[in-house]
Amino acid sequence: MPEPKRKTELRQGAGGRAAHDVGGLDFGPIDRTEHDLALWEKRVDAMLILLTGPKKGAFKIDAMRRVIEDYGQQQYDSTTYYEKWIRAIRNLLVEQEILTKEEIEAKIAAVEEAMRASGRELQGGSVPWDDVGGRM
């Protein structure tokens, strides 16, 4: 899998802005390469639509923006678009007490075990929980 192009420049002169808020900073040209979405990315998209829809109403899209915008620069720059989404969704499900960390970890462990048993390759690693937690 090719390493995606990521913005890793230090935010020179950022003046305390959040990591996502880069308007006017110098990042050079935008990478406009198109790419197909992976199945998991489509599933993340669908999951967000279902969770924020009127039927479930688990949280508003603004809450997901808040979680993503609270990421530090290192985390913001080292994750892809849908990685940001799924991590924020996971954290909000815990924050809203829809699932517990333990339930999510147990499900991930079960999926990993099933994949190993079927000889499929596991990609990626565990994602830390350090930014979970509601405030206000």
């Binding site: 305390g16 603004d62 809203q96």
Partner: protein
Amino acid sequence: MSAPAPRFRIGDVVRVDSRMALGHCRTPFFLRGKTGVIVGIQGAFHDPEKLAYHKPGLPRQVLYKVRFKQSDLWPNYRGKPHDHLEADIYEHWLMRISAEARSDSHAA
């Protein structure tokens, strides 16, 4: 529920607050502290800064289309003098300033 009455009218000269924001807000950093003119009233919407914390988002905030001169936004801007940028800014981020100060430069 009736919509809140807009505090500003089209043509008013406003400055974007330069406060720091925690959590989620929709006022881009590069526009904070900048002066522009109201060119549209987009309606009243639930406050995204409160929705971000699972609150009802009330009172609703009037959203304005604000026009800025590019040369006011970027040091050493080299484009045409009348180039401008428009952005949607919520009312609680805007302050009215004296219209005379900038009355010459924002004609649509």
